[in-house]
């Protein structure tokens, strides 16, 4: 039950409202995850009036305002097809019109294709008021405690990175049983993330050892069984898709 609704005009005002204890205040991003708040007495702080829906290119980054929608991002010509695919699998066309980049990442579970891709890309959150940057991996590692009392204002994606994304599901647009995102920097650094299982996507490799990627993927998902797929299957798929991602980047001309 949402008892109070606020649409602040400044970040400072938003932050003040978020300090409310009763009812507890939550940030309303796109609103596509409203359902999970059912049964709670809440105040919501709608950030739509703060101008956080802009997209900028800054040096080697794309800087996305926290309220940039997934549709805005998917239409961006400068993103890779791999990221576009991850976005399209994340939410339906209608959902993408509302769902925001920051909201989707904060609310993501292990089946989130977008979160898997962003984890591989080592996306960063910029926070207000601290102006600190946290990587998405850090937020996943430390939970929402890491951003408690702050507002995500920007999500930053590096551009000088190649991304490959592979997926297995029952149909071409179904939830992933396993998905793999692999980002590779010009330096040879690779980051490999797995999705399709658990509470959050997993980062399984961050380094230069490309040969280790399939093995790391298999190992990371060796216990990843649930009612949708066995651990044995997920582990094999994680390794296979990691290899396909590597092959794809090897053959990529970009």
């Amino acid at each position: 039950m949402i008892d109070e609704y606020y649409r602040p005009k400044t970040l400072t005002e938003a932050l003040e409202i978020l300090q409310k204890k009763a009812p507890a205040a939550k940030i309303l991003a796109g609103g596509t995850s409203l359902r999970k708040w059912r049964g709670q007495n809440l105040a919501v702080v709608d950030l739509q009036g703060l101008g956080l829906d802009q997209i900028e290119s800054r040096q080697t980054d794309i800087v996305l305002g926290a309220m940039v929608t997934l549709d805005q991002l998917a239409r961006l010509a400068t993103i890779s097809n791999a990221l576009r695919k991850a976005i399209e699998l994340q939410a339906t066309f209608n959902q993408r019109q509302l769902a925001t980049i920051a909201g989707s990442l904060v609310a993501a579970d292990g089946q989130s294709t977008l979160a898997t891709a962003m984890l591989a890309l080592n996306a960063r959150f910029r926070l207000f008021p601290s102006q600190n940057e946290l990587t998405y991996g850090e937020v996943l590692a430390f939970g929402n405690e890491a951003i408690m009392g702050q507002i995500i204002t920007e999500v930053v994606i590096p551009t000088q990175v190649q991304l490959a994304f592979e997926y297995v599901g029952r149909t071409p647009a179904d939830l992933p049983l396993v998905c793999v995102a692999l980002a590779r920097w010009n330096s040879g650094r690779i980051r490999l993330a797995l999705g399709g299982w658990g509470k959050a996507p997993l980062l399984v490799l961050d380094g230069s050892g490309r040969e280790a990627a399939p093995l790391a993927a298999r190992s990371a998902y060796s216990q990843a069984g649930d009612e949708w797929a066995s651990a044995a299957y997920r582990a094999e798929m994680a390794a296979l898709l990691a290899k396909r991602c590597l092959d794809e980047l090897d053959h990529s001309t970009v």
Binding site: M1, Y5, T92, F93, N94, T171, L240
Partner: protein, 1005 residues
């Protein structure tokens, strides 16, 4: 809080709760074109445009929408004729949807139209892929998306200013105007010609027989009679009606799969202000009934109570609440304290009949039907011997056996179960409900409510899809009990989660096949043994599984002497478990039968190195032969022999194999490879299927037609159009007989007070049964018209030839003499009603049939298999169907396309899985994935017309048969692609991966 919303260019100052969604507020303001399907942003039927973008209004807070431009379907077009006021007419997108046959139940149509508008405003010339992407946020369970996609492309052409020919003059017209067109061989479907607008590819190919006739209206792609209101989003569905003082119902559901209710304390809930009633089993009379909406007597056990002191599945009913708002009712549910005594949980159907198994139905009121035996958890039992299978097996050169399994799946109609009840001014209980069976509902509810039938009136408005899920008296008793308890109108709509945990589903089955076959491919005997899990209650238990044998095991009788005396055995045990109950789902047991039969036939053909098509046709039932099951079983009633009068199966195979390019692909190693993708393999597969058309000697439909002053006609039917277009085809048949355009037939269905009885929408019966009733009633009316016209013609002058009624024809709204004189129907009507020997020209008739003429079909599938992941992508489905004469090729092909799409889910993705405590894995439309517009294979429909002699226009049926063949055809295509048999559908990636791995390990060994 106070807000101001700008909706359709008008400002609405509003007082709302911060938690109110835009969906709730819009519907509260009367924008009923915004539908509710899941309340979780998954289905998209609640979509509106927010600043020109399609968003799900259930995911937007009303307050969040302030400052934005909101547009609903009500802001688009309107009926072009508004009396003295000139109307703007429909929006071009609405017009295109209407013309293209893109509307079936219409529940998702407003959202699809708005999604199209958003696309076309940005992109006036979209590709098909872009259209599919734009529509992908709105689920449709009826159409398979083909026609909506084509409608958007057509609308785009309209909006670009292009002149478009009517659909019926498009490229497919030539296909329906010739007898047997040359078959186009090749790898690709025919390309459209270059006529502007002709590329609206919504018309199927129709292959006429030499017996086919040309009619004025029958056989034409008439626009659906309900399309105009549906495309405007008019308040036509149950939830679109509200009453002052209306209460909202909620149902407390069991968290346990099997338990006795030791104690319920409702005091806190009852004390909550705004709560009008809380009912438990202690408050209601204890009446055993069946929820299966079927004719009297119900062919199944009476094993259900509105509320009981025992729960038998997770989601079973515990208590009913009625309150002033849904939120209050929900809060009241949480205040009901229930003490359960858990009982052992029985989930494995194999264990159900074991001596140590817990007994699920121990209530003394249980009423048996047939062989049901609750002491053994047996809901129904069937054993049928046709011929002598043991003799047949002894005569065989080979015996092939196999075990198969089919899952529990959901109808997933986008309009949930929904009902509203109230006492009328005559103290009669009125129930407005989204049901396929209004007359059965009235009859079956009467004892449950303690009311005589005559004091209950059931009204069926438009239905947002049913697919068998609403052939169930599932929630009408909830609202009725609460109206009786409170004296007030009560409304109840199931949530999407309730749909998954507490409505009905397709029966899961385990099947063993044993087939005897000679070296030349002659089947000598065929046996099927089935174990069906009916879940906690036995609704449709006997009849669904009976159909599994009756249809699927009837197709292959064998060749030579076996044609006259086939050897077939069918044995089935239908058992209770603590799963949610299964029930009716489009296909009604037959898809469960054709998965094993057609997978098995494929294996036999391959083992014997026989051509799979020739092997099947060699053994398949033919015209002139006895339906083998007709003398053995008839849904629990006395069976009577039926001869198959028409069978277009060979032509179905001929046309289908050409359309999909079978001869170029099957056995072509090169085609099976995918260039640059060593891990992909293509495959092609087929399944032949048959269904039934109505239940012989049982299903009855009535129709009433009356003539109005202007020569138009009211057609009143009890038949229930659940989106299929049955109102339209019934109107077409009436129009044909009466010589008027369809627009002169005003269809009303259905209301138990005003329309004649009809058994309802199931068993593929409406076009055939109700249609024949309509024809008979129309013939009566036509005869009255002719009689009066003859009299008027003979009063015209002594020098004119005398005419008799028999000589007159009805055409173009006129009665015409052989010498060309005419009188308009309006003149006849005015004369009859106002001028001389006044009478109401009208006709009432009913029809039932001694036969159930089967439609036949050849289903083809083409797939690409990833042999490393096990992921199957279905690329193409082609279905060639003998459904008799096709009354409306547009609506009929819509049935095939939508059916194939549902069946595709059965093939590759849909299933309902439970944990060891009986808790459902699938509880929403995210987990229960329904195919979206942008992930669909190419669909193609071909109609092979035969003329069924038992119907005045020669129709059979098309509604259910598309459910039957897709899964086995896909299974066979997967086998063709990678050499692996999957015997339990759906063919999920892990299942196939394991089979591929076993195959690989076997090779290595």
């Amino acid at each position: 809080m106070e807000i101001k919303l700008r909706i359709n260019q008008i400002d609405f100052p509003l007082s709302v709760s911060p938690s109110d969604t835009l969906l709730k507020v819009l519907r509260g303001l009367g924008f009923y074109g915004v539908k509710e399907g899941c309340d979780n942003g998954e289905c998209g039927v609640c979509a509106v445009l927010l600043d020109g973008k399609p968003v799900n209004s259930c995911q937007v807070l009303a307050a969040q929408a302030e400052g934005h431009l909101i547009e609903t379907i009500e802001h688009l077009g309107e009926h072009p004729q508004q009396g003295w006021k000139s109307g703007a007419g429909l929006h071009p997108i609405q017009q295109a949807f209407l013309e293209s046959g893109a509307i079936q139940c219409g529940y998702c149509t407003p959202a699809q139209v708005l999604a199209a508008k958003a696309l076309l405003e940005k992109n006036p010339n979209p590709s098909e892929a872009e259209v599919r992407q734009a529509l992908s946020g709105v689920l449709c369970r009826c159409t398979g998306y083909l026609k909506p996609v084509q409608a958007v492309l057509r609308a785009a052409a309209y909006l670009r200013g292009e002149q478009l020919p009517p659909i019926q003059f498009g490229i497919e017209e030539s296909a329906i105007s010739v007898s047997l067109p040359p078959i186009e061989e090749g790898l690709h479907p025919p390309e459209p010609n270059n006529l502007p607008g002709a590329a609206t590819k919504v018309m199927p190919k129709v292959v006429l027989s030499s017996y086919s006739k040309t009619y004025q209206t029958v056989g034409k792609p008439e626009v659906k009679v309900d399309a105009m209101k549906l495309v405007q989003g008019k308040p036509a569905f149950t939830a679109d009606f509200e009453m002052s003082g209306m209460l909202y119902a909620k149902v407390l559901r069991s968290p346990l799969a099997h338990a006795r209710i030791k104690h319920i304390d409702t005091s806190r809930a009852r004390a909550l202000p705004g709560v009008a009633a809380v009912l438990t089993w202690q408050d209601l009379p204890r009446v055993a009934y069946s929820t299966a909406g079927q004719s009297h007597p119900i062919p199944g056990p009476l094993d259900t109570f509105s509320l009981d002191n025992k729960v038998r599945f997770v989601g079973d009913r515990v208590a009913f609440v009625a309150a002033e708002s849904e939120e209050l009712a929900e809060r009241a549910l949480n205040m009901i304290e229930v003490e359960y005594e858990p009982l052992p949980v029985l989930l494995d159907s194999e264990q159900a009949m074991q001596p140590q198994a817990v007994r699920i139905h121990d209530e003394p009121e249980y009423v048996n039907f047939g062989d049901s035996d609750p002491s053994r958890n047996l809901a129904a039992h069937i054993h049928i011997d046709i011929g002598d299978v043991e003799k047949g097996f002894a005569e065989a050169d080979y015996i092939v056996e196999g075990d198969y399994e089919v899952p529990k799946v959901q109808q997933a109609h986008l309009e949930p179960h929904v009902a509203l009840s109230y006492w009328d001014e005559d103290d009669r209980l009125v129930i407005r409900t989204s049901t396929q069976v209004p007359f059965h509902a009235r009859r079956q509810l009467a004892p449950v409510l303690g009311l005589p039938i005559k004091r209950i009136r059931v009204i069926k408005p438009r239905i947002g899809g049913g697919f068998g899920g609403k052939q169930e008296v599932l929630i009408e008793d909830v609202v009725a009990h609460l109206t009786i308890a409170t004296g007030r109108p009560v409304f109840y709509q199931m949530t999407r989660e309730e749909e998954f945990i507490a409505s009905r589903s397709r029966h899961p089955m385990r099947i063993h096949m044993k087939t005897g076959v000679k070296k030349d491919g002659t089947i000598t005997a065929n046996a099927m043994r089935v174990l069906t899990d009916t879940g906690a209650y036995g609704c449709h238990a006997l009849t669904v599984t009976g159909n599994t044998g009756h249809k699927a095991m009837a197709l292959y009788v064998g060749d030579g002497p076996y044609r006259k005396s086939p050897n077939i055995q069918f044995h089935a045990d239908i058992v209770y478990t603590n799963h949610p109950p299964a029930g009716a789902y489009r296909g009604y047991g037959v898809p469960q039968g054709f998965w094993p039969v057609e997978r098995h036939m494929e294996k036999i053909a391959r083992q014997l190195h026989l051509d799979p098509l020739e092997f099947r046709l060699k053994n398949a039932l033919r015209a002139g032969e006895l339906h083998p099951f007709s003398t053995a079983w008839s849904e629990g009633r006395e069976p009577r022999p039926e001869i198959i009068a028409t069978n277009g199966l060979e032509e179905c195979v001929r046309q289908g194999r050409a359309a999909i390019g079978w001869d170029q692909k099957y056995g072509n190693a090169e085609w099976h490879q995918v260039e640059d993708k060593a891990y992909l393999r293509r495959g092609i597969g087929v399944a032949l299927v048959m269904q039934g058309t109505a239940i012989p000697y049982l299903d009855m439909g009535g129709a009433s037609i009356k003539m109005n002053d202007d020569g138009s006609f009211n057609l009143l039917i009890g038949a229930t159009d659940l989106g299929t277009g049955s109102d339209t085809v019934l109107a077409q048949m009436a129009a044909e007989v009466l010589g008027v355009p369809v627009e002169d037939i005003l269809v009303y269905s259905s209301d138990t007070d005003f329309t004649p009885f009809d058994k309802g929408a199931y068993a593929s019966s409406t076009t055939y049964i109700s249609g024949a009733a309509v024809v008979k009633a129309a013939q009566q009316v036509a005869e009255r018209i002719r009689q009066r016209a003859a009299r008027l013609f003979n009063q015209q002058g002594e020098n004119l030839p005398v005419v008799t009624a028999e000589e007159l024809t009805l055409q173009d709204r006129q009665v015409i003499t052989p010498d060309g004189r005419s009188i308009s129907l309006e003149e006849i009507a005015l004369h009859a009603i106002h001028q001389e020997d006044q009478e109401q020209i009208m006709g009432v008739a009913s029809f039932f049939s001694p036969v159930s003429p089967p439609p036949f079909a050849a289903q083809f599938a083409e797939v690409t298999v990833d042999i490393e992941t096990g992921m199957v992508v279905v690329d193409r489905l082609v279905m060639a169907v003998d459904g008799g004469v096709i009354v409306n090729p547009l609506t009929a092909s819509g049935q095939i396309e939508g059916g194939m799409t549902q069946a595709l889910g059965y093939a590759i993705s849909e299933e309902m899985v439970y944990d060891e405590q009986g808790r459902a894995r699938e509880r929403d439309l995210r987990q229960y994935h329904i195919l979206q517009a942008h992930e669909m294979p190419e669909l193609e429909t071909i109609f092979i017309e035969t003329v069924e002699p038992s119907h005045p226009f020669g129709v059979k049926a098309v509604a259910e048969i598309p459910m039957d063949g897709v899964a086995p055809a896909v299974g066979n295509a997967v086998l063709d692609a990678c050499g692996v048999n999957i015997d339990a559908n759906p063919i999920t990636p892990e299942k196939l991966w394991r089979a591929l791995r076993s195959q690989k390990q076997g090779r290595e060994v």
